[in-house]
């Protein structure tokens, strides 16, 4: 099969790469563009470790073909915040959320998408917002605390 040209915006930069027609967005990001923040935990859309934003919406990038991102905007964990830590990232560090760390990029992208659509989610809304992201180390409690705190600090920041 002939490779195809994928042109898209990734983390606010225009990109142009050759991809296989059967190649997933996750593989294109990781293997062609060197963006290894998104992880493959299952390859079947069940664990959420590969979550990225496609036109602002959270998607399991292992279930999206690379060519489906043509002329669209992709954001990965590497592009969540430029040069500094996003309030979510900062809260995750301070609350000691990451243990093995493998699920963390996906959880953060899911949480960021949640806060984009719902600035002050309830605990239940946060729990459902990251329900597609499996974590085996943390038991989720510190994640919920960190996301709640980040939401509050972002609102505080927006008000200022």
């Amino acid at each position: 099969m002939a490779k195809q040209i994928l042109r898209a915006s990734v983390n606010d930069e225009p990109i142009e790469v050759l991809v296989q027609p059967y190649e997933t967005l996750l593989d294109a990001l990781r293997e062609r563009l060197g963006l290894t923040g998104p992880k493959e935990g299952c390859g079947t859309g069940d664990c959420g470790a590969c979550t990225v934003h496609l036109d602002g919406q959270p998607v399991a990038s292992c279930l999206v073909l690379a060519m489906q991102a043509r002329d669209r905007s992709v954001r990965t964990i590497e592009g969540l915040a430029a040069g500094t830590l996003h309030p979510l990232q900062d809260a995750f560090v301070r609350h000691g959320v990451p243990q093995c760390g493998f699920c963390i990029p996906g959880v953060l992208m899911a949480a960021a998408a949640l806060l984009d659509s719902n600035a002050r989610p309830s605990e239940e809304e946060i729990r459902y917002g990251i329900a597609g992201n499996l974590c085996r180390c943390t038991g989720y409690t510190k994640m919920i605390t960190a996301i709640t705190e980040a939401a509050a600090s972002m609102q505080e920041g927006a008000r200022r």
Binding site: K39, C100, G101, I104, G139, K142, I144
Partner: protein, 768 residues
């Protein structure tokens, strides 16, 4: 007046300090094995047997070898190192002429691209002669069952040694039971007499199926040989030295020819102790002369990882009406899959000696079946054993009309009392933990919770107590003083849970500087002192001692140098704020920076400070956790909602409370997964029926409440600053706590995990 810091109040042990690699992890910059792509990388895939038990008649790889982009195709015939009677999975690199579980590798491919390797697998032709499979462990124990191991294969007990360090006498295997690979038998007193004199005798059989450790990062390894025959492995492992030893043994080469670089490990929980795909990846790299990377798919992980054994415990207990315990009889069956390697002793210790039984008779058997061989999973066999004994104690208390907590406390072994192997229990805080849990509002207000139900849902509260004996392994560490007065700590310890920050805190407090001055590094096997596994809840307990002693050694050297420079006696010196001074004469001092510099100056006569320690250990530190679950149940559907959950745990001394809480919460949720949702299920041909994370159901954030943590500190005599192991106790009690809560809610006792809505609803129907 300024208060001067002494070594007693440096920023170190006891503080909740976030781990320093947090920013790397939240930005996606941390590299796991699958993220590392050297030039010339080849991708590996394994062809796996679709049959649980089959003779391999013929393998034809000619079409696969001819596919453009394929660089190597290996079968057992291409690997001279392969031996029959492989004692472990690692040694059975590829099936020789018989596949013994569905998912066992029979051929391996390395290719330029993953898609080419996948295509090559389709071109390999294997002719199988399918044989009857032993799928059920109880049937597999019977004479005449299809044999799993080749005759003469040795049992593998290394896992038991690494994990629990509790020895038991070997038992007698039933005659002609070809698949019983290990047995144990312990007894004391007259069990028959005990039952005869009992007022109440209860017999139940508890079952917990095979479950997967569930680490998010699948097994992965990258292998490359240099031109002189030295192998480098970038591995996702819980112990790089163990990986080196196992791979060297399988390949038949010296350990000095292998360098294992422990790459960030995306979770292990016991499943990444033993070598698995490292040997075949190394062989593909040798065959091609190129770096080869192998990453398991999730399906392969579930079908052919190294899950926890199925545990079946038949338990018979007798007691007097006043609650006096009389006798316990138990039979534990551990289903080990296709290779030996379970921990038999743990079950006997907790069954027979967590509570004081005047008479007991406990038999254990490890049974082989045609399923993937098992490995450790966080406190191996303890959650399953505590499910049995704690459920039984709770049920006994209910039948006798006694308070369930008081009943446990009355019979709970105290330090110094004999375990089943007649060794005394080491210092532990089980009584303190149970008392703290019993004082928690979730427990004291359980009657109000139960009475407050409405809408037909039944409410209940359950408590359970369990723990871990604590692993031991020799280990080493160095602490050096840098020319700028900072400290560098070096171990080979793989940091998954956040142990490195705790070790750095120990170094800070033991040496006498703030944590900000301490950097800790996990070295590879070429540079680090020999270091044990990240397993057995023993990282802080043992490596922490090595780091503490190395820091004390560095401090002693530092003070000796200062004594020489200041012309004072060591006893008269104090180390305050990065400066050694003569006590009471603050003007007579020398900074750590000056001492560090002198150790690195041309023509200097001051030696560089290099503290080291390499202790071995003999004293375990058991650690206990109690958990309370508050649930309600829909009696029609069996659906359970977990409303509140609390973990009360003795950690000896919380070196880093933030990290300790993370362990308690994560362990508790894994424990709840065993209780409520998780099971690897097999059909009657031995094939896994739920090989995806959609069907192998782990708990999500939406399934759970916040996990409350209460830290209890009963210092251990030998641990650093009194610390005990933290990782394993929290995974132990929840299956029993949930079963106890369900009995409180419904009056029905469940004895099989996971306690799914279907099982609960059926149990309620059966009672009606």
């Amino acid at each position: 007046m300024s208060t001067m810091k002494t070594t007693r109040d440096v920023r170190g042990v006891g503080l909740s300090i976030p781990r320093p690699d947090g920013p790397e992890k939240v930005t996606g910059r941390v590299q796991y094995v699958a993220d590392i792509t050297p030039k010339g990388l080849l991708h590996a895939k394994l062809l796996r047997s679709p049959h649980a038990h089959a003779r391999i008649v013929r393998i034809d790889v000619s079409k696969a070898r001819a596919l453009p982009g394929v660089r190597a195709v290996l079968t057992a015939a291409d690997i001279p190192e392969l031996k029959r009677k492989a004692p472990t999975r690692a040694h059975a690199v590829l099936a020789i002429d018989r596949a013994v579980f569905a998912g066992q590798p029979v051929a391996a491919v390395a290719a330029d691209e993953l898609a080419i390797a996948e295509e090559a697998l389709d071109l390999i032709e294997v002719q199988y002669d399918v044989l009857p499979a032993a799928v059920d462990p109880l049937q597999s124990m019977q004479p005449g069952a299809p044999p799993v191991a080749d005759v003469g294969t040795e049992a593998d007990t290394s896992e038991a040694l690494a994990h629990s360090a509790v020895a038991l006498a070997k038992g007698e295997a039933p005659t002609k039971a070809v698949n019983v690979s290990q047995t144990s038998h312990v007894k004391r007193g007259d069990v028959a007499k005990g039952f005869a004199e009992s007022d109440v005798v209860i017999e139940k059989t508890y079952r917990v199926p095979m479950v997967h450790q569930g680490y998010l990062e699948p097994h992965a390894v990258l292998a490359e040989w240099d031109t002189t025959g030295h192998l480098t492995l970038w591995a996702s492992t819980q112990g790089s030295f163990n990986t080196r030893t196992e791979v060297a043994d399988v390949l038949g080469i010296e350990e000095n020819r292998i360098k294992v670089i422990p790459v960030e490990c995306g979770g292990g929980f016991g499943g990444k102790i033993r070598a698995l795909c490292e040997p075949i990846t190394a062989l593909l790299a040798r065959a091609t002369g190129r770096p080869v990377r192998y990453v398991m798919t999730r399906r392969e992980e579930l079908e052919a990882g190294m899950p926890a054994p199925q545990v079946i415990i038949r338990l018979k207990t007798g007691a007097k009406r006043d609650g006096t315990l009389m006798a316990l009889e138990a039979e534990t069956v551990l289903e080990s899959g296709a290779f030996s390697g379970t921990v038999l002793a743990v079950s006997a210790v907790f069954l027979g000696s967590l509570y004081r039984w005047p008479a007991f008779d406990i038999k254990g058997s490890e049974v082989l079946t045609h399923k993937p061989s098992v490995a450790a999973y966080r406190a191996p066999v303890a959650p399953q054993t505590i499910f049995a004994i704690d459920s039984q104690m709770e049920h006994l208390a209910r039948v006798l009309g006694l308070d369930a907590v008081e009943f446990r406390a009355r019979h709970l072994s105290r330090p110094g009392e004999p375990m089943v192997n007649n060794q005394p229990w080491a210092s532990h805080g089980a009584h303190e933990v149970l008392a703290r849990a019993a004082a928690h509002p979730l427990w004291t207000e359980r009657a109000a919770w139960k009475a407050g139900g409405n809408g037909g849902r039944l409410r209940g509260t359950g408590i359970a107590l369990g723990g871990w004996l604590g692993g031991l392994q020799p280990t080493g560490a160095t602490v050096k003083l840098n020319p700028d007065g900072s400290l560098s700590v070096l171990t080979g310890q793989v940091d998954i849970a956040g142990t490195n920050i705790a070790l750095a805190q120990i170094a800070a407090s033991a040496y006498g500087v703030d944590i900000e001055k301490v950097k800790i590094t996990t070295g590879d096997t070429d540079v680090a002192p020999v270091t044990g596994l990240s397993a057995g809840s023993k990282t802080v307990y043992t490596v922490g001692v090595a780091v503490m002693q190395a820091a004390q050694d560095a401090r002693r050297q530092t003070l000796e140098i200062a004594a020489g420079e200041l012309e004072a006696a060591v006893e008269d010196l104090e180390l305050v704020d990065g400066r050694v001074a003569v006590r009471g004469m603050p003007d007579r001092g020398i900074t750590l920076t000056q001492i560090g510099r002198k150790g690195n100056l041309y023509m200097s006569k001051v030696p560089p400070v290099l503290g080291s320690a390499h202790p071995a250990f003999s004293q375990q530190a058991p650690a206990f956790a109690a958990q309370i679950a508050r649930v309600d149940v829909d009696p029609d559907t069996g659906e359970v909602t977990l409303h509140d959950f609390v973990v009360v745990q003795d950690v000896g001394r919380a070196i880093n409370p933030l990290a300790v809480e993370g362990q308690m919460q994560g362990g508790a949720v894994q424990s709840l997964g065993i209780a409520l949702t998780e099971a690897l299920t097999y059909d009657d041909k031995g094939r896994l029926t739920n090989p995806s994370l959609l069907d192998y159901r782990k708990l999500t954030a939406a399934d759970l409440p916040n996990i409350e943590t209460i830290i209890v500190e009963v210092p251990s005599p030998a641990g650093p600053f009194g610390a005990r192991g933290v990782g394993e106790p929290p995974i132990v009690p929840a299956p029993a706590a949930i079963a106890n809560a369900l009995e409180d809610a419904t009056g029905v006792r469940l004895t099989t995990c996971p306690m799914t809505p279907e099982r609960i609803a059926l149990a309620l129907v059966e009672r009606r």
